[in-house]
């Protein structure tokens, strides 16, 4: 006897709204249907109604946790359009904040993964130690999570020697703790049995289904934008692309934990080799890039992030397009969640398998209206969206 169980749109392991409809037989999952479009926010359209400077702050809000990656991607894009090169010190500073927020994101994920397999103690410890890196981000940028650090032409604040000392001290602590967490993951048998051979994604499937980021690297494929298409100072700061080839959730945990250690070394290296000089070039408030288009790619904590911009010479983008890593990883999740052959997915594995792609759904929602009866589809314009949201807002005001 098989029946359907819904996970979402409200489910306390995935606080973000998505609906996964599982066809289960006893404890085994047979089939899954994923619906991600619960949080469409009209961001791409929103870019077209803001000038380039204000767009930075909108880009920042695509995703709270990867905000450094999003603004980095956005500002790079606009700088490419303008044909401007940012000063070398700004490149290093951008890298430092990017890597710190990667540490933050991966630690957050490690805690969540522990929570998803019911290991509450590890969850608490990881999140306690994550505060250290949040404090660092707060000291550098002025806010814990939403950094507002990158801007067109460089970064907005400089790192003083005291801050540098503080970073180094916290990094030592973080390194020690991360190594400890890695040991826990590798030696605690209950963690091992819950993660090994769970959520298998073969390398070929990973490529076929366009997996990105740590999911891809955990399938043994060496792919990292930082190494393949270096941006900011990544061509000068050495690091290893971490790969594991067991293709399961365990490999994804280890990839992320090892990446934290790599990030720590990268931040240390860039603090040692921080060039002197300006940290930003002043830009006018209204920038008008020449007509043209540009693409920039960034390795966000969750994988490859792609921004595309087309300019028509005015002070606002003509079209802005964002491809976020979670959206790219959804097809591979569907594959991981389906039993096939002697690979069986249990209901108990659902949270950790879905969690292993580090889902961030607020940047994934896409919307299109489809009228099945008239077989017509259409999209809303920005003004329609605004009118709709204002109407909703007034009702609650």
């Amino acid at each position: 006897m098989s029946f359907y169980i819904p996970i979402g749109p409200q489910h306390h392991v995935h606080p973000e709204p998505l609906l996964m409809k599982f066809k289960v037989e006893g404890e085994q999952v047979i089939d899954v249907e994923i619906n991600v479009s619960y949080t469409h926010r009209g961001i791409e359209k929103g870019f077209e109604y803001r000038d380039y400077m204000k767009g930075i702050f909108l880009a920042e809000r695509i995703c709270g946790i990867c905000n450094a990656a999003h603004t980095l991607c956005y500002t790079q894009n606009i700088e490419q359009l303008l044909g401007k090169e940012i000063p070398p010190r700004a490149k290093y500073l951008r890298l430092i904040v990017e890597e710190l927020s990667r540490i933050h994101s991966h630690l957050l994920w490690l805690g969540l993964a522990a929570h998803q397999i019911g290991f509450e103690t590890l969850f608490m410890y990881v999140w306690r130690d994550r505060e250290k890196v949040l404090d660092l981000l707060e000291t550098i940028t002025g806010n814990r999570v939403v950094t507002a650090y990158n801007t067109i032409g460089g970064v907005r604040r400089d790192i003083t020697p005291e801050i540098e000392q503080k970073i180094r001290k916290s990094l030592d602590y973080l390194e020690e703790r991360t190594k400890y967490f890695k040991k826990v993951v590798m030696e605690e048998p209950t963690v091992l049995v819950r993660t090994q051979n769970v959520g298998i994604l073969k390398p070929r499937e990973a490529i076929e289904l366009f997996a990105v980021g740590p999911v891809l690297r955990a399938s043994g494929i060496k792919h990292d934008i930082r190494a393949d298409d270096p941006y900011i100072a990544h061509d000068e700061v050495p690091f290893n692309v971490v790969t594991y080839d067991t293709c399961d959730v365990y490999a994804r945990i280890l990839v992320r934990v090892d990446e934290i250690l790599e990030c720590i070394n990268m931040v240390r290296y860039s603090l040692d080799h921080l060039p002197s000089g300006e940290y930003r070039i002043r830009m006018p408030v209204i920038v008008r890039p020449p007509p043209g288009e540009s693409v920039s790619r960034v390795e966000a904590p969750r994988g490859e992030l792609l921004h595309y911009v087309r300019s028509d010479g005015s002070d606002k983008p003509y079209r802005y397009k964002v491809r976020t890593p979670t959206l790219a990883n959804i097809p591979s999740t569907a594959r991981m969640l389906t039993s096939r052959g002697d690979y069986i997915v249990y209901i108990a594995d659902i949270p950790i398998i879905f969690g292993s792609i580090d889902p961030c759904l607020c940047c994934t929602g896409r919307v299109m209206f489809i009228d099945i009866e008239k077989s017509k589809s259409w999209v809303w314009t920005y003004n329609e969206l605004v009118r709709y949201s204002l109407k909703r807002f007034e009702r609650h005001d």
């Binding site: 029946f3 359907y4 289960v24 290991f119 509450e120 103690t121 590890l122 605690e188 108990a348």
Partner: protein, 322 residues
Amino acid sequence: MIEALYKIIEMILFPGFAFIGVLSLLYEWIDRKFYARLQNRIGPLYAGPHGILQPLADFIKLLSKEDIIPEGADKFLFTLTPILFFAINLLLTLFLPICGTTGVISFTGDLIFFVALLTIISILVYTAGMASTNRFATIGAERAVLQLIGYEIPFMLSIVSVAISSRSLTIKNIVESQSSIWHILGPNFLAFIIFAITAQAELERIPFDIPEAEQEIVAGWLVEYSGKKLALFRLGKDVETLLLCGLGATLFLGGPLGPVVPGLEIVFYTLYFIIKSIIVLLVLTTLRALFARLRVDQMLVLSWKYLIPLSLISVLIVRVVF
């Protein structure tokens, strides 16, 4: 006449229902506070000094909540199970030797009766889940029974090895046989470890909180219960915790026995019992903080591959020694 009155007072006030109620809420607080401290958190804080009244506050809050019976549920069973669950747990506490070597109820071979009723509690979990006809509850109920198949045998065997070493199936005799040396200090140490692990499964706590796995099936078999029924279940669970800690203390740590001042036996016995069962509780809480939740098939593998052979070995050792 006086005898009967005395029994009734014993049953209702001390060491009966009222005392047990207070004690079980206290144990929940200890469990939560200790668990929180192990995780470097605070735990309950605001209700009463150090949050000691938090379990009571939770209970009262739940009592005042709306009580919903889902449309598809079997109304009779749905209402009956929480009451039975609570009642059986409460009944079983009367067997615990709290203020003397015997409990309020005691007869020859009462250990068998005790253990049999403990199994019924798990069956009640199954009926609770099935009666609510929710999908998550159904899965939770199935898991509860599967888990029962896993932990019941090692649990019984660990008790059997104690019974063998004291050559009795009566709780009174088992307690008295420990007047010189506790069972845990002898060859029954292995049995104690198995008892602690399986008690964790009986109580549905990490790593065996499989039937109510919060992250997977929301609250499992409890998912449809609300208001007074949920309050009864929660209190029943607390009493069950007390029950198993008390059982552990009785079987392995010598129950209420210890050096006493003549004339004040009741006070001392009660104190010893509480201290010893809190020790067992702390062991259980530590176990809860150490592991990730297992999957139900892994739980069965664990128990049939490791726990059952180990408990058989323990029985064998005890049989050879005694």
